[in-house]
Symmetry: C2
């Protein structure tokens, strides 16, 4: 474990800069709150004992872990102690609770924050069920959908268009660690995304209020991708054109009581739940 000197320095991999990380006035680690920094450094911030533990379980190795001695000594410190046992001592750095708090996005940080390499992967060659997020903009929805996808057996999450960053602190928290458990892929344009999906033989489906097919009428046991659009705008223009020309099949969650739409994360969950039921139960009726 490294010292508790006030001006502990850290050199991010691939960077020539020494960062002053524990000075209360200069927590430059906090730059990873910004997507641009995450993208350029290929690193993400993981806040709190639970999430850092999830990252380790997923096989990720932190470059740096800031831990506050106050949190270690607190009533809930045993989980944090157990976490430290699993870490290489040369990445752990003791820092004041204030310093950890400043590095974090959360209002009530839990005394630990880690820097880990961002696990963005290429789309696996074999995919049976994919969730495609097309411009999902709310970090809570993004994280919740990834959590649901991991839980319900989705093989890959594909993020296309103007999606919020899954690796933002808020989306990562909403994923409850699931971001580390399901392969996620950031692609470029919708066209590129569609070609990646079609090359793997996936049939494409998207929610469309005017569709004739109910979501439970789709044979989800066949290789499939569910496309979920943005909360405010729905599908991107390019994806909508593919829907109009039948490249994507529109499906409908039948709605009652004059309700016009569902929350995006809820709509995705209902369809993925039906896909799971068919795949595990072996029927589609």
């Amino acid at each position: 474990m490294r010292s508790t000197e006030a001006f502990e320095l850290w050199r991010p991999p691939g960077s020539g800069d020494l960062l002053d990380i524990t000075s209360p006035t200069n927590p430059r680690i906090k730059t990873l709150h910004k997507r641009k920094s995450r993208d350029s450094e290929g690193r993400v911030l993981v806040e709190g004992c639970r999430l850092v533990t999830d990252a380790l379980k997923a096989g990720l190795s932190p470059d740096l872990v800031l831990v506050s001695p106050e949190a270690l000594a607190s009533p809930g410190g045993s989980a944090l102690s157990a976490l430290l046992q699993r870490l290489s001592s040369d990445v752990v750095c003791l820092a004041s609770g204030d310093c950890v708090a400043r590095a974090c996005d959360t209002v009530s940080p839990q005394g630990v924050v880690a820097v880990v390499a961002r696990p963005l992967l290429p789309l696996p060659e074999t995919v049976r069920l994919a969730l495609v997020l097309d411009g999902v903009s709310d970090p809570g929805n993004m994280g919740t959908m990834v959590r649901t996808a991991a839980a319900l057996g989705v093989d890959a999450v594909v993020m296309t268009g103007a999606c919020v960053d899954l690796w933002s602190p808020k989306a990562l928290r909403a994923s409850m660690g699931a971001a580390f458990r399901v392969p996620s892929v950031a692609t470029g344009t919708w066209r590129e995304t569609r070609e990646l999906l079609q090359a793997r033989g996936l049939a494409l489906y998207a929610a469309d209020g005017g569709a004739a097919t109910a979501h439970w009428e789709v044979p989800w046991s066949k290789p499939s991708a569910l496309v979920v659009g943005s909360e405010a705008e729905g599908l991107s223009q390019a994806a909508r054109e593919d829907l109009d020309r039948g490249v994507i099949t529109g499906i409908r969650i039948p709605l009652s009581n004059g309700v016009e739409s569902l929350n995006a994360a809820v709509a995705g969950a209902i369809v993925l739940g039906e896909a799971q039921r068919q795949r595990q139960h072996g029927v589609n009726t």
Copy 2:
């Protein structure tokens, strides 16, 4: 329509007090942000053109509607004008945009806020599918679950234990107006709630990670109630005791990838989606 005098007064029904509502320094209408005031006055605040329109569509008559002339004159003012056509002129009061904003909980209010009677109802005698919220504490989850319930054909939402108030501005917004479209009932203790449900012949189900029965194995076409517990704690102690002694049947959404739980609103949606599928599709396999 009433005047734009700076010190417009309003006497809430059943109250002796004249309220100064349009003074920028004294927006006492804002007291309805607090549950205690909503409970004592039996009134709720409805913010924004869309939600006020939803309230009217549901047959609710506002006591008071504050509208800002600036919003009426703005590019998006036509929907607001259309809304005003539907209102009795003696409840509409022009007020400065600042005054409307101060009355609202939203950061970006849409120039209109209404006071309406809170439509809390007794549990209907005939219920085929109920959603029971047992201590749901997050207003976003509360509103989202009510929106989902209305959309998927739930007959009644029952709120028991330490639930957040469905009529708080944030929960009401998350419900996207669905709070006005599905009967909702606040009950007292779990025991009272259970007796109300059982008196209507409803079979009780609740998510329980250790249960043997998958959620799709339940015959949802029979009169049923799904109980969803709090995000952090799950079911209340009293409901958990009923689960342990078999009065509530535990059901399980099978989870993969080491994910331990789902977001409460997502879990509720997946089960209600399956209930809807069975009820509309006429099968439970």
